[in-house]
Subunit: 212 residues, 3 copies
Amino acid sequence: MPVETSTVLLHILYLIAIVAEAMTAALAAGRRDMDWMGVCIIACVTALGGGSLRDVLLGHYPLTWVAHPEYLAMTAGAALVTAFIAPLMRRLRRLFLWLDAVGLVAFTVIGCQVAQQMEMSTSVVLISGMITGCAGGVLRDVLCNDVPLLFRKELYASVSIVTGALYLGLLKLDWGLSAAVPVALVAGLTFRLLALRFNWQMPRFVYRDDWH
Amino acid sequence: MPVETSTVLLHILYLIAIVAEAMTAALAAGRRDMDWMGVCIIACVTALGGGSLRDVLLGHYPLTWVAHPEYLAMTAGAALVTAFIAPLMRRLRRLFLWLDAVGLVAFTVIGCQVAQQMEMSTSVVLISGMITGCAGGVLRDVLCNDVPLLFRKELYASVSIVTGALYLGLLKLDWGLSAAVPVALVAGLTFRLLALRFNWQMPRFVYRDDWH
Amino acid sequence: MPVETSTVLLHILYLIAIVAEAMTAALAAGRRDMDWMGVCIIACVTALGGGSLRDVLLGHYPLTWVAHPEYLAMTAGAALVTAFIAPLMRRLRRLFLWLDAVGLVAFTVIGCQVAQQMEMSTSVVLISGMITGCAGGVLRDVLCNDVPLLFRKELYASVSIVTGALYLGLLKLDWGLSAAVPVALVAGLTFRLLALRFNWQMPRFVYRDDWH
């Protein structure tokens, strides 16, 4: 039996995404004047932290980078390259917003699949996808001492939920993996890029008081 | 055999507490202008994060919200409701301080019981209770980019330790669960409310130097 | 068979190191005006958090302080003592920089050994050493709401990597544990102290833009 095409597609997108996440994380580290080691660590945590948090919360061992330490080398290497070509990165901003969106949807579907293989309930599968897609950026922001961007801007987590729900819904409708995966990826990607293009935002909850 | 009354009591208090914690966490998110998705995530992390951290540290799988994903819906729903009734929340401040105290002691006893079932040593049982009772608030503060309140104000962690120690002590004296649980809960709650009422504080350690 | 001398050495250094880490962490907590309970918690997290994170990421249960809760008492006790003798600490600054360096290299080698016993690949062994040596300080900085020092100053993580690599390299050359451990410790310690003495720094990546 040939390897499922959708698995190959996801894997290729995964590799592209961890490199892209590492590169944008390196820029975040550069904004905080971190040294090269700090840049590498922030890059690894951002690119691989979402999947790691998912695995720890679900008890899914070994973690991805433990089973595939070459991913650590890829992300750390990409981060160092970024430190050298940073001026170029400015002009590639649009490309990296795209790649970041690719990462979000690819991570999400992979995270859903991990929870599915563990026979988790539907809502846990969706949360697993969301953690995989979004938590790396939250860890980056916590380590850089920012209020996580995820909670304040952009439809990041929402795109992840929608992508995961579409993926699961299509499977429930008996679409095979080879159809459900690319459709969910393309739909999620489109949603994300439209959100970026038209600056869609969720309503915010603004609250002011003297409560402790 | 009927279900142990203390178990039912704890479970009811647990459900009340996660909803209350979610609602106060939603206000904290509102103070940071988070969008609705951020509000829901902060609420889930605050209400369920203490138990999750405990389970991850003790290797106690599956986590509570993985086994009971309905708790995620409850906390996220409570957070969204809070965003709509926020003006009302101001007038309920005293009620929520009470409910927060209920959560602290109920989480603590539940956390102790989890470690007891894993046959952990006494000090680990106490720490398990404290993590369950307190860590959700710490995670909330870290994600909101505050110095955790736990470490600076109020007898929060101390109340948790005292509650857990009383609960364990009563069991050692051969009180049954149905007596030890409510007594520890009421004593811990009383301690917490007195601490709030009379603004009891622990001594602080204030240190200034040029050490990096 | 006598217990391997290097194991005894590492264990003694470990005990010294967790006490020293707890004491410097207590000062960090004092700089944030934390109360005594906060001081104890920060001390425990700093001294034992690196090993805990390693164990959680590798799925290595039970965690050190769960198996040896006396370490919690040691670190919390050392932290409280520090709050009383803080003025004295100022004059011991140099000693504690030394002890911190001892902790870094001892934690690193212990972390490498844990991953070796789990038959992890070489790069995961190195990362395990680095997490054990460095993550406690990162957790401390996150809880104190600082940008982690690790990412910005000093050759901290680099010393850990070099120590771990030397330790593994010597084992590959068929040096026994009783030679590889002390040589790696002394070399790492020397590297760290030279880095402090001559203020060696890694190049930094400084990046400024308007990218979100």
